[in-house]
């Protein structure tokens, strides 16, 4: 069984769990993901690996409560087990040849950006990190980023912590100030990645983005995770589970990806509402 060996609430919405999955822990690299089911008959959800320890067999996942499944996951405690946990899936982030990196994380995407930044640092790379959140209460992983970054910029949308604004502000400031990077890594909500790409584009620096579409099997069977790249003016279909999840930020059709992500919004909202009601009912009965 895949037991939970560590749990920490990073903020009101974001939880970190370490799952005992030795085979996955031995293999997982920055940028890869796992698929889990909380219980038998639950849905399969993909989550990017936030860290892995081959010695202890622990795989770290950091996730935001956005729906019924992540809500159920966030309510598990140390000692509880997951029904299924499979990985590592997808290709690891390509880090070769990068000596000076700009790592940009948005919201819970910082959990995915962190292992990439860490791997870059361990490879002797100079790392500048920009992390952005909606507000002060939602800031996560600041200490971890500061430990591995040569320079760390924090922004919040409402200015309650760090610089006011979105991640594009410090990115633009760094680039227009003459900072030189071999590659930019942007991980976060689609709209944040889209605008980071647009900000970086005039400087012609390669940019990697990490896509997180709806998936079922995660092994290249269902095709649900398909997205479009525009390569030499041609639309090319790719599958995030086997071709990604990392892609060339300049090629990704972000608008299409955003549209596809909304395929089940009604169902998800309903399921989340149901799950919340169940919990409230349970608490009322126990209280």
């Amino acid at each position: 069984m895949y037991s939970i060996i560590y749990k920490k609430r990073l903020n009101d919405f974001v939880t970190e769990l370490h799952i005992h999955a030795p085979l996955v822990a031995k293999k997982a690299k920055a940028g890869q993901f796992i698929i889990l089911r909380v219980t038998e008959d639950a849905e399969r959800i993909p989550l990017t690996v936030a860290g892995a320890d081959a010695q202890t067999g622990a795989v770290s996942i950091i996730f935001q409560t956005v729906g019924a499944t992540t809500l159920a996951l966030s309510r598990l405690e140390v000692g509880d087990s997951l029904s299924d946990f499979v990985g590592p899936l997808g290709k690891p982030t390509e880090l070769d040849g990068v000596k000076r990196a700009l790592v940009v994380g948005g919201g819970v995407g910082c959990a995915i950006a962190l292992p990439i930044a860490r791997a870059l640092k361990e490879a002797g790379c100079r790392v500048i990190s920009v992390i952005g959140f909606r507000s002060r209460e939602l800031v996560i992983l600041e200490r971890e980023f500061s430990e591995i970054s040569d320079e760390l910029h924090i922004v919040t949308d409402d200015g309650s912590y760090g610089q006011r604004g979105n991640v594009c502000l410090p990115v633009e400031a760094l680039l227009s100030g003459g900072a030189v990077f071999d590659r930019v890594f942007a991980i976060g909500p689609l709209v944040m990645m889209k605008y980071t790409v647009l900000t970086v584009k005039p400087y012609e620096i390669p940019i990697t983005v990490s896509m997180n579409p709806i998936m079922i099997d995660g092994t290249g069977m269902c095709g649900g995770c398909r997205l479009s790249l525009i390569e030499d003016g041609r639309r090319v279909m790719k599958f995030a589970c086997v071709d990604g999840p990392d892609f060339d930020g300049y090629a990704v059709d972000f608008d299409e990806a955003a549209s596809r992500l909304g395929a089940y919004t009604d169902f998800e909202r309903h399921a989340y509402g149901e799950a919340c009601n169940l919990i409230k009912k349970g608490e009322a009965q126990n209280g």
Partner: protein
């Protein structure tokens, strides 16, 4: 006294009305009386043309003779010497192009219902016996099987009977491969697959779910972990799309995704946590068994109108005949000689936040006519100019085949694949890498359950001759 009726005993089925709202199995199976009566139609030909037309050479006249004697368990024993999954194959084999196509009774009338009899025997066995723990002496040698679909299960069963320690690695959370994620409950109840898997466990086969070979473990690591041989039966891979505009709209599914959501993830149940679009009007593109499965699933999920869109004519439909007949009975409309050119989606130009934006609204098609035969002798469909038309639908399911999965190839040195990405094997199922065998859709591309099972059995034989003296 032989039964000289020119017709098969009819297979009892649920009525089309019952079927449209139910995932219960459509064909309910012969009774003992029907089976014996059908068995009496077999002439017991000495040259047994049916046997040579069976991909795994089941001794058909012999098992049918046992049915005539009311020795159903005896019939099962004969079948199980050749087939590992009789309850499955009796249901999903295309008998009309295999065993039954060579039946002498088919010259004047209908052939013997061999598939129906096979199913009867297997169901009788499963109902009246329990899996028996086998005390086969182990030979101390280990074999890894990659994938728990029909090829993998067949290979695992045969090797376990020979005394090998067999571990089957399955990427998904449930064993069965396409038998659980692909073929719907109404055609192949999952309890039957479950029982076949239990039979294998009773033989000592270990099944490790949630392990993706090529990712969690590589083929090299399997050898390092003491496995003497590896059989790759990882199945077909990435679904094909047509490459026409609009395939990214919401409501466009690959058949694999649509069926996986409904079958494996049980999205048809109101309690399921996995969503599926309950479309009112659905177009399924393709003419194979998978297309029929997708169309009939969409109907059961509540669609008011379901079309099969197929570019050739009814004659060329590759699906099993019984599935086509069942689909027609259930009210699926066949738009033959029709080929999609574009999928249309909703776009509110004045409101980018309109929730309907990006959802399918229709499919643009052209009419086709059959032209000259192609290299395989099938007449090539040719577009009729000016025949463009739009069919309003809110979901499109692409069921036009798959391309091999790259995961194992890309992580296994020395494993050669052909131009289509299928693993290259010799006549004995051996790949270009020593100790590694392959079979099923991973080799051939999308094919049938029985041919995959046959490949699994062949590989088991080859692995045995490779390992027995090692």
């Amino acid at each position: 006294m032989a039964n000289m009726s020119p017709k098969k005993n009819k297979m009892p089925t649920l009525s089309p009305e019952q079927r449209r709202t139910s995932f219960d199995e459509v064909a309910t199976g012969y009774t003992e009386e029907m089976a014996i009566d059908e068995a009496l139609r077999c002439l017991g030909c000495r040259n047994m043309p049916c046997v040579s037309a069976c991909p795994v050479n089941i001794r058909i006249p012999e098992f049918i003779a046992k049915i005539r004697e009311c020795d159903f368990e005896g019939a099962y024993e004969i079948i199980s010497q050749s087939s590992s999954l009789p309850a499955v194959c009796g249901r999903v084999c295309p008998q009309e192009t295999q065993c039954e196509s060579k039946c002498v009774r088919g010259i004047k009338g209908e052939p013997v219902g061999i598939g129906r009899l096979e199913r009867f025997v297997a169901d009788w066995h499963n109902k009246n016996t329990q899996p028996v723990l086998n005390n086969i002496p182990k030979n101390g040698k280990k074999v890894a099987v990659v994938g728990s679909g029909p090829a993998g299960l067949a290979c695992a069963g045969d090797l376990a009977r020979l005394g090998y320690g067999v571990t089957v690695f399955e990427a998904l959370h449930t064993a069965g491969g396409v038998l659980v994620y692909g073929i719907p409950e109404f055609r192949l109840p999952k309890s039957i697959v479950g029982r076949e898997v239990e039979n294998l466990r009773a033989l000592g086969v270990e099944i490790e779910t949630n392990v993706v070979i090529g990712k969690t473990l590589t083929v090299d690591e399997l050898f390092e972990n003491g496995f003497g041989a590896v059989f790759i039966a990882s199945g077909a891979g990435l679904p094909n799309f047509m490459g026409i505009p609009g395939e990214s709209y919401k409501g466009v599914y690959s058949a694999n995704e649509f069926l996986t959501r409904s079958n494996l993830m049980k999205a048809y149940s109101p309690d399921s946590q996995t969503p599926i679009m309950r479309a009112e009007r659905v177009a399924v593109v393709g003419g194979g068994n998978v297309a029929m499965d997708a169309a009939r699933t969409a109907l059961r999920l509540g669609a008011k109108k379901v079309y099969i869109v197929y570019r050739r004519s009814m004659e060329e439909l590759p699906a099993r005949r019984e599935e086509v007949l069942h689909a027609i009975e259930e009210g699926i409309e066949f738009l033959i000689l029709t080929n999609p050119t574009e999928i249309l989606g909703y776009a509110n130009e004045s409101d980018s936040r309109d929730p309907k934006n990006g959802f399918v609204t229709g499919i643009k098609c052209v009419k086709m006519e059959l032209g000259e035969p192609d290299e395989r002798g099938r007449r090539r469909p040719v577009k009729i100019d000016g025949s463009e038309h739009i069919i309003p639908v809110d979901a499109v399911i692409m069921s036009i085949g798959t391309s091999p999965n790259p995961l194992i190839k890309s992580t296994t040195a020395g494993l050669d694949v052909n131009g289509h990405g299928g693993i290259i094997v010799g006549e004995d199922g051996a790949t270009t890498r020593e100790g590694v065998y392959a079979g099923g859709d991973a080799v051939t591309g999308a094919a049938t359950v029985i041919s995959a099972m046959g490949a699994g059995k062949l590989a088991a034989k080859s692995i045995h001759s490779y390992l027995k003296d090692k």
